[in-house]
Symmetry: C3
Subunit: 147 residues, 3 copies
Amino acid sequence: MKYAEGRLGRVFVIRLEEGDVVPDCIEEFASEKNISIAHVSLLGTLMEGEVIVGPRKTSEIPPRPMDLPIYEAHETIATGVVAPDKDGKPILHIHGALGRSGNTIMGCLRNGVKAWVCCEVILQEILGVDAKRLLDEKTGFTLLNLG
Amino acid sequence: MKYAEGRLGRVFVIRLEEGDVVPDCIEEFASEKNISIAHVSLLGTLMEGEVIVGPRKTSEIPPRPMDLPIYEAHETIATGVVAPDKDGKPILHIHGALGRSGNTIMGCLRNGVKAWVCCEVILQEILGVDAKRLLDEKTGFTLLNLG
Amino acid sequence: MKYAEGRLGRVFVIRLEEGDVVPDCIEEFASEKNISIAHVSLLGTLMEGEVIVGPRKTSEIPPRPMDLPIYEAHETIATGVVAPDKDGKPILHIHGALGRSGNTIMGCLRNGVKAWVCCEVILQEILGVDAKRLLDEKTGFTLLNLG
């Protein structure tokens, strides 16, 4: 376990509008507001795009991801962490549970899903933490490095 | 995307007791404590009531919701945002993943589900944000309006 | 409903490393850092261990839990609350949605699941709250007592 201690900064209440793409729109918002590290909590309805639903084989390194398309509007909760990449660009790592008519797809919202009519986000900025998402050569993942 | 910037206020640690109805009991609590805007994070076991599991057709406006009943006790995580309606009454918009024996129903807890034995909530008040849930004529939803 | 009012303390950004066991590693971290009460928000990939997926019968007291094993790596979001037991040891009550290839298991991570390659946690300390997890004779659960 690696960790860094910080403190809370600004808190943003956000409403996504129809067609806003997650995680892109939140990354752009973070960039615009000079937010480096943040916790993101989302609830709403998402549609389209793809969700990464696990590595094909748990023990295969580097892992090959499984993707599933999202067709119709799905009720969603999602949790994410914003941190900068090596160039300082904010990257949102966000996982969500997307459900429809009693079935639930849980995965990483890396490849873009869109807000439907109604989607709310609470973004809490975290100050005083030195963190970067850097490429891990072995796994091919960008992992959170805490300084 | 619409947004408003605020700051954290009071933090409440809450234990729901058997039979407490979500979202009602949290809305009443917010009213009693003069909480206008808040982030709600819930974990516990819920039962009974109904969950909205998506619009019947993604592209149909106004949308007609699908509901599913919840029978037995379900392990749950849920995320919500409290904001006042046009009359100032606190409304909790909350989505949750409710699972039992390996099946998971993800939806909006609008129609009332009850706490079973064990249910914990962290409610974080957000200050300095002007927000209201107002009727959107086109969709028939009450959407978060950020001033 | 029982409640206690507090305020936010330290915020920790944590990266779990492969093989770190939840909830144990977070309980040890809380102990080391003298954290009494905290909110925990996790996203990442978990594997192995077991998840409690509900009581066998909703109305049977004391309840007998259902457990399911987790085999391969599962994309996950989880929400938890840290509070001390009667001896002051931090106990993390944490529920998570664990998904793989479109199926989702929602449950209580009490019996230990392990971090796979990538797992991030935001831990928010809550100050000024007197809470303890104490045995409830009737149900056999340790419930959050708020003083």
